[in-house]
């Protein structure tokens, strides 16, 4: 019996891979203020996955297509002057979830699978899921490294990036689609709804500890993988749902990072030095 035949071992490998993936993309989600958009993506992914499973095609494909439609829609809406993107995103979020729920209601005996789409079922992760997560991790890591400069300049200074000749609309779309692929890849581990906590919370926590992007990225990956492993351990120790305990651990990391960061800022602000401010 090989090491991979144990469900818990496969689960450990999956949380490490999915955690690294979430931590990596999470930094972009947080610094670009795309958390709410990611929330909408996760909800829009749900009907895509349900529909794919009803008609019997690959559920990842269904999720990517559904999320892709949302990503293109949001980019199109934000390019229109005077459109409030957050209103449209919010509507898409609940509409997507409603559509998924409606689709589920048309099927009988579907509710057990439903919960695994929503909150994951890491102990049933197969070798194929592991391979997919590993491949997506490598592709996303290489993509974000190659695109580091354009992404940095667009995130910091959109008009300057445009003036420098970057096609910012295309880069925006590429980033949103990458987030979508990551969300769908994480479905087996933590499900559509809980993916957002593993993407956003570790990166938001890391951002509290450093102003330097490489350090934030490294910490974000460490926090996400750590949350995954600790959550998995809590899950097997006290027999609670793994997706939920992973999400709650990530949230606890954010909460634990917030307090020292607040204290640090307060201490730095105490000696107000007007000198040197030109």
């Amino acid at each position: 019996m090989s090491w991979w035949d144990d469900a818990l071992h496969r689960a450990v490998a999956e949380v490490v891979l999915a955690g690294a993936l979430a931590g990596l993309i999470g930094v972009h989600v947080v610094v670009r203020r795309l958390s709410f958009f990611t929330m909408a993506l996760t909800h829009a992914t749900f009907p895509g996955i349900v529909l794919a499973s009803i008609i019997g095609v690959n559920i990842m494909l269904g999720g990517v297509v559904a999320g892709g439609i949302v990503a293109v829609g949001v980019v199109a809406l934000t390019r229109r002057r005077g459109q409030d993107a957050s209103a449209a995103t919010g509507v898409l979020l609940s509409a997507g979830f409603a559509l998924g729920a409606a689709l589920v209601a048309t099927q009988s005996g579907f509710s057990r699978d439903l919960s695994s789409f929503l909150v994951g079922s890491i102990l049933t992760v197969g070798t194929q899921d592991l391979v997919v997560t590993a491949v997506v991790l490598v592709v996303v890591a290489v993509g974000l490294t190659v695109g580091a400069r354009p992404l940095l300049q667009i995130g910091f200074d959109r008009s300057g990036a445009q003036a420098a000749g970057l096609a910012i609309g295309r880069w925006d779309l590429l980033l949103l689609l990458t987030i979508q692929v990551v969300v769908v890849t994480m479905v087996p581990a933590v499900g559509t709804i809980l993916a957002v906590s593993l993407i956003v919370a570790p990166a938001a926590a890391a951002r509290l500890w450093s102003d330097r992007l490489p350090v934030v990225t490294a910490l974000s990956i460490v926090f996400a993988v750590g949350s995954g492993l600790v959550g998995l351990w809590i899950s097997s120790r006290w027999n609670v749902a793994a997706g939920a305990s992973i999400s709650l651990t990530a949230t606890a990391v954010l909460a634990a990072s917030w307090l020292p960061a607040r204290l640090r800022t307060a201490v730095v602000r105490l000696p107000v030095a007007p000198a040197g401010r030109a």
Binding site: V31, V146, R149, P150, L152, Q153, G155, F156, D157, R158, S159, G160, Q162, A163, A164, G165, R207, S210, D211, R212, L213, V216, R277, A278
Partner: protein, 251 residues
């Protein structure tokens, strides 16, 4: 280069076929400093964006560094208004200035020693060498503007466009920016500076262009910054004060 850095003949610019600014005639040569003066909403930023190839030219002939503005995209240096930047973004002052080198390095290749030297020198020129490691968002408004100017310097542009570089800038930074801009044009760069500060336009520019929906006047500061022409441009909200200085008053 012998031709003008920027030449507009009877140009109209605008969005989706609707002109924001019309009748623009400009001729800016190497080493010249052009000030675009007009009230808020006059079309100063739109004109700058048209030079960058980001807003289409609807009518007339436009030439930027000897080419069509859309073909010259990425060639001209640009200093955007600081309030369009994300001040919370985790980016250091040094990284911001390095962005000025991207066009030379390429988007993918690693920076070389020459690039790092250019960044250090640019920061030194704006007097912020000691802030290189700080996060951009922790600096004051004037310092942020000087960092963006350093970024433009590092890109070594032949044509540099600055959108309201004196907005929200304290006196120390303003003097520093004016000094650096004079040095840049002495080095042969053509500068286009939008401002609503008549005093700065008078002191800094060789050529002043008055804008408000259209071009109302263009020429030497002493010819253009007159009470009559300013009243025409601003719609009557200008008064003479002592020593030939003008003051804008709200209606």
């Amino acid at each position: 280069m012998t031709g003008p850095a920027l030449r507009y003949d009877g140009v109209s610019v605008g969005y989706q076929g609707t002109a924001v600014l019309t009748h623009v005639d400009l001729d800016v040569r190497a080493g010249q400093r052009l000030a675009l003066v007009g009230p808020n909403g006059a079309g100063k930023s739109t004109l700058i964006k048209s030079v960058l190839g980001l807003v289409p030219v609807l009518a007339g002939q436009a030439s930027v560094l000897g080419a069509d503005p859309s073909a010259a995209r990425g060639q001209a240096g640009y200093v955007p208004q600081t309030d369009t930047l994300d001040a919370d973004f985790p980016v250091s002052v040094r990284q911001v200035v390095m962005m000025g080198r991207y066009r030379r390095i390429g988007w993918w290749r690693p920076a070389r020693a020459a690039d790092r030297r250019a960044v250090a020198e640019a920061l030194d020129r704006v007097g912020l060498a000691d802030r290189a490691g700080h996060r951009f968002g922790t600096l004051s408004g004037g310092q942020r503007q000087r960092v963006l100017l350093a970024r433009a310097i590092a890109s070594e542009p032949r044509l540099l466009l600055l959108d309201e570089p004196f907005n929200g800038v304290d006196a120390v930074s303003q003097d520093e920016i004016v000094r650096v801009l004079r040095e840049l044009s002495a080095g042969g760069a053509a500068l286009v500076i939008s401002t609503h500060d008549l005093g700065v336009a008078r002191d800094l520019a060789d050529v002043v262009c008055l804008l408000n929906g259209r071009q109302w006047a263009v020429g030497a500061p002493s010819e253009v910054l007159t009470a009559e022409k300013l009243r025409m441009t601003y719609g009557g909200h200008v008064v003479d004060v002592a020593d030939g200085q003008m003051m804008l008053v709200e209606p």
